[in-house]
């Protein structure tokens, strides 16, 4: 409950955080610009393989250059060392698995072999601090194949390595309510399409009693943007359809995965009549076996004002507590049984009682969850 409420607070914070996030991003981009390369001492990179190909001639064995400071710009930035002033400390110690020469030089650790090893060679030598070369474009193959042939392949390379678009159709709930004389149904479904960061989301939900008009039917279209590893910021339009007066709402909200594996969401709505409402939901999948999953789910609806024509009072208007046990015949197809307790609060409950309905009810449900 606390968690859900805090998400409402977090909602605002997330919106505010977006520009900050973008700034941090820019800052990194600048940091990454490397200084122009310093002409490094001529050294042959001619390996036997390349010499054999006739690409180069093997030089006489090159003596190892004097050891340099291992203070890379990266480490300097972390405050591990200061770059130009740092005096190179040449003793290359025998490599200790837990204490590499670089770290030993930073004073982070002392190699187990305390004796200075003058015979260190090859990979046992510490690394120097030469600057990285300047970034260039990855177009060297143009020299061989020409830009006209390479550019389409390069575009495809990027598309195929992180640039894909995907989709999912999800029928989260499709259930029949078993209640004496009031048998009803409920469904909640969504479709998303897009890449890793930007997606289009369409949602549809509705419920009702058999033989009567559908209630609480909503169609929502959202633009969704990944704002961190787990959460998406969403904004768009909701259209109410079905029984009673219909509204159109502007929607903004956040949905995602909270710590401890809770799927949570919170949305704020502003209707075309100027009314403000909100909804919060949370659910958790408790795996009993690899296929049998118990899912508690809660939903809260709030309103900032009285809306008598909709039978809604201000404040907390309603809540729903569900407990569903599903069996995943496949990941994509899981029949379930459950029990759902719905309750209305405050003036909303009064409106319901005045209209001859119960303010709360508990029912068994049977349904199926499916996606592809």
């Amino acid at each position: 409950m606390n968690r859900l409420l805090s998400i409402g607070v977090a909602l605002g914070a997330f919106v505010a955080a977006v520009p900050a996030l973008a700034q941090a991003h820019d800052g990194h981009g600048q940091q990454d610009a490397q200084p122009a390369p310093k002409p490094a001492p001529a050294a042959s990179g001619c390996t036997p393989e390349h010499a054999a190909m006739g690409h180069c001639k093997m030089p006489e064995p090159v003596p190892a250059p004097p050891a340099q400071s291992s203070c890379t710009p990266e480490h300097a930035k972390m405050g591990h060392c200061t770059m130009p002033e740092a005096k190179p400390e040449p003793p290359p110690a025998a490599t200790d698995p837990d204490c590499s020469p670089e770290h030993a030089k930073m004073g982070h650790c002392t190699p187990k072999t305390s004796a200075v090893d003058d015979t260190a060679v090859g990979t046992s030598l510490p690394a120097g601090d030469a600057p990285a070369p300047r970034p260039v474009a990855a177009n060297y193959a143009d020299r061989v194949w020409g830009k006209n042939d390479m550019q389409p392949a390069r575009d495809m390379l990027r598309r195929e390595h992180g640039g894909g678009t995907f989709n999912q159709v999800m029928l989260d709930l499709a259930e029949v309510k078993i209640a004496k004389g009031h048998e009803g149904y409920k469904f909640e479904g969504s479709v998303w399409y897009g890449g890793d960061i930007n997606r289009f989301v369409f949602k549809a939900e509705g419920e009702g009693e058999f033989g009567e008009a559908m209630e609480g039917a909503e169609l929502t279209a959202l633009y969704s943007r990944a704002i961190d590893p787990y959460f998406n910021l969403q904004a768009g339009i909701r259209q109410d359809v079905g029984a009673g007066p219909d509204r159109t709402h502007a929607v903004i909200g956040v949905e995602g995965l909270a710590p401890y594996w809770f799927e949570v969401s919170g949305y704020l709505y502003l209707s075309n009549k100027g009314e403000v409402t909100a909804s919060f939901a949370g659910e958790y999948d408790q795996r009993l076996t690899q296929r049998l999953i118990l899912q508690p789910k809660v939903e809260f609806d709030l309103s900032a004002q009285d809306m008598p024509e909709l039978g809604i009072g201000s404040g907390l208007m309603g809540a729903e507590f569900g407990l569903r046990l599903r069996y995943e015949i496949a990941r994509e197809f899981a029949p379930y049984v459950g029990v759902v307790h719905e309750t209305k609060f405050g003036r909303t409950a009064d409106y319901a009682r005045a209209g001859g309905s119960d303010a709360s009810s508990t029912n068994f449900v049977i349904g199926v969850r499916a996606w592809f």
């Binding site: 490094a40 006739g54 392949a153 575009d155 989709n167």
Partner: protein, 593 residues
């Protein structure tokens, strides 16, 4: 677990009828059941002009028909057998309706012959032929595969064996090529879509309320708090994969023959899309003699882990006149590939059951420094030091020792410890204290009760060609998000990066790969061998692919001696497809100035 039980029973049953299997026409003879081995005259492709045709075909895996992309009508493709010092022209016909390519994995060649569309060449258009031409300047066991889309998953791969110019220093009486791979009847695009929809889709070994795992509620809560799954060992598992040896499912009992007392050379290639294998032959010591094509001092082990795209050559010396089972168990233990070593066709040995799948520990989240115990200086990684926990050995007394519950004290997404990493949704976590894990045998192998190979066991036979100290060092973070199934280097997918990683020709650079994820990443640098920094000085083992263990680091030195643009990526196919790839450019010094 039901499917696992079924598989086991099948494996046990397989031994009975193994010898009676018909030879499938789509299988090359070297990969046929009861193959007599490469020492015989076998249909391989060799010579200076080699023709390879990439085409759709059907395959039969354990009796079930599936769709595949094969080469010259087989999966795996034919063995390309070459000799060091020769020149080769490989005429590759693409009979698909989409672009294709062949990358010669581990071969030293001019960059424009490397076969990566968009990096080294434009790719091979549908219904056209491309001729690769380059000199063969090395020897050893390598392989080739598509670098286009997800074709590799469908069977577009095969082995390469290059014989040395003189006599082979590795003496054996006979040899067998063992190509390990994974096959799914589900189309790879669908596999990728499922992973995007649900990162843990293929994991059928998750924690449950009834699993009886010896894991406390507190630990379960801690994993939950971090939104991390300790059972997340492999992304695509035996729940959809059949694990193959030379294209054969476990039921086929592919058999490699030997005469008792012979020295048998086994050339292992892991041509899987996504599967790291743990390989053992119960009853036989396995002497590793070559790693990624290059000779290493023989090291006798009971088991070794082979990551995707690695190759190992091993010598086994079966003395007894009996059959042995070769077991290649997937790292998450959701299945295994099985073959038989036997003196005669039609024999089979006991197939050991799958072992229990490993669970990740805090070390797999880059909290490895804690495992060194209180105050151990070895645990002081640059990341940890950046937090001010252990800047100086003297001041560090309170650091490691005083931290009671590691995860409580360390944000799992602290960008200050990884200054080069972009703050994107791709970065689910950053290892706060990653440690060098090259001396460890791989996930789930620390307590198997016998000797398991580690990278630190590998020592080159020949002195390294370049023994200079690195001129500079760099750290590259391997980042990912299992929930969104996003993968990248330094938080930026290839689709997002602005520029390649630049090197100057002849430059010698130390690269430390930091794994910020819970999964091993076999990282492959094209066009170069690199020397692992594992304490062996100028006899460092040289490799083209290094598996970076979860939450750990791996360090190599390399000489940027091959001018051009080269691919650099995780060899887990769906990680690469998700963006875990970069381009490395090696420019002549005059160009870069």
């Amino acid at each position: 677990m039901n499917s696992t039980m079924d598989r086991r029973q099948l494996l046990r049953g397989a031994g009975m009828g193994g010898g009676a299997l018909a030879l499938s026409s789509w299988m090359p003879a070297w990969a046929q059941t009861n193959s007599p081995g490469l020492v015989r005259d076998l249909p391989v492709v060799s010579g200076e002009d080699i023709r390879l045709k990439i085409a759709h075909q059907m395959v039969t895996i354990d009796g079930r028909q599936g769709h595949a992309i094969g080469i010259n009508g087989t999966v795996p493709g034919p063995l390309v057998r070459l000799r060091e010092g020769q020149k080769v022209r490989l005429h590759v016909e693409n009979a698909l309706d989409e672009d294709s390519s062949i990358h010669w994995h581990g071969l030293i060649l001019p960059f424009h012959m490397d076969g990566v569309p968009g990096v080294s060449f434009p790719g091979i258009k549908p219904r056209s032929t491309f001729t690769y031409e380059f000199p063969i300047v090395q020897s050893g066991t390598y392989w080739y595969h598509s670098h286009s889309g997800l074709q590799e998953q469908m069977g577009h791969y095969g082995p390469i064996v290059i014989d040395p110019e003189g006599t082979d220093p590795i003496v054996s009486d006979r040899e067998h090529v063992i190509v390990l791979s994974d096959y799914s009847f589900m189309h790879p695009h669908k596999i990728f879509q499922k992973l995007k929809q649900m990162g843990g889709y293929f994991n059928q070994q998750k924690l449950t309320a009834t699993d009886g795992e010896p894991m406390s509620i507190k630990d379960r809560m801690e994993w939950g708090r971090m939104r991390m799954d300790p059972t997340d060992v492999g992304d695509v598992t035996g729940s959809t994969y059949s694990f193959l040896i030379n294209g054969h499912g476990a039921r086929d009992n592919w058999t490699a023959l030997f005469r008792p007392g012979e020295r048998v050379r086994l050339r292992f290639v892991n041509a899987s899309a996504m599967t790291t294998f743990n390989v053992r032959i119960p009853g036989l010591k396995i002497a590793i003699v070559q790693s990624d094509g290059l000779p290493v001092r023989p090291v006798a082990v009971d088991e070794f882990q082979i990551a995707v795209a690695e190759t190992y050559d091993a010598i086994v010396e079966p003395i007894d006149d009996r059959a042995y089972t070769l077991v290649a168990e997937s790292v998450d233990r959701s299945g295994m590939a099985v073959a038989t070593l036997a003196p005669r066709p039609g024999m089979a040995a006991v197939v050991p059951p799958l072992r229990k799948r490993p669970l990740a520990t805090m070390k797999y989240l880059g909290l490895g420094g804690m495992d060194h115990g209180g105050g151990g200086a070895g645990g002081c990684t640059p990341e940890h030091a950046a937090m001010g926990h252990c800047t100086m050995p003297e001041a560090g007394a309170d650091a490691a020792a005083a931290a009671p519950a590691p995860a409580m004290d360390h944000g799992m997404r602290d960008f200050s410890v990884a200054p080069g990493v972009k703050k994107t949704p791709t970065v689910q976590s950053i290892s706060p204290m990653p440690v060098d894990r090259m001396g460890e045998p791989g996930q789930g192998l620390a307590d198997v009760g016998h000797r398991v190979l580690t990278y630190r066991d590998l020592v080159a036979v020949e002195r390294n060609p370049d023994i200079r100290a690195p001129e500079r060092a760099m750290r590259i973070h391997l980042t990912g998000n299992m929930e969104r199934y996003m993968w990248a280097f330094d938080g930026e997918k290839l689709s997002e990066v602005k520029a390649p990683i630049p090197f100057l020709e002849g430059e010698r650079v130390r690269v430390t790969l930091v794994n910020d994820t819970m999964m091993g990443h076999p990282i492959h640098l094209h066009g170069h061998f690199f020397e692992l920094v594992t304490g062996h000085g100028d006899f460092a083992p040289r490799k083209h692919t290094v598996n970076v263990q979860p939450g750990g680091t791996a360090t190599f030195d390399f000489t940027a001696d091959a001018v051009g643009d080269w691919a650099f990526h995780c060899h887990m196919l769906y990680h690469m497809h998700g963006g875990m790839m970069q381009v490395v450019t090696v420019r002549p010094r005059e160009d870069a100035a």
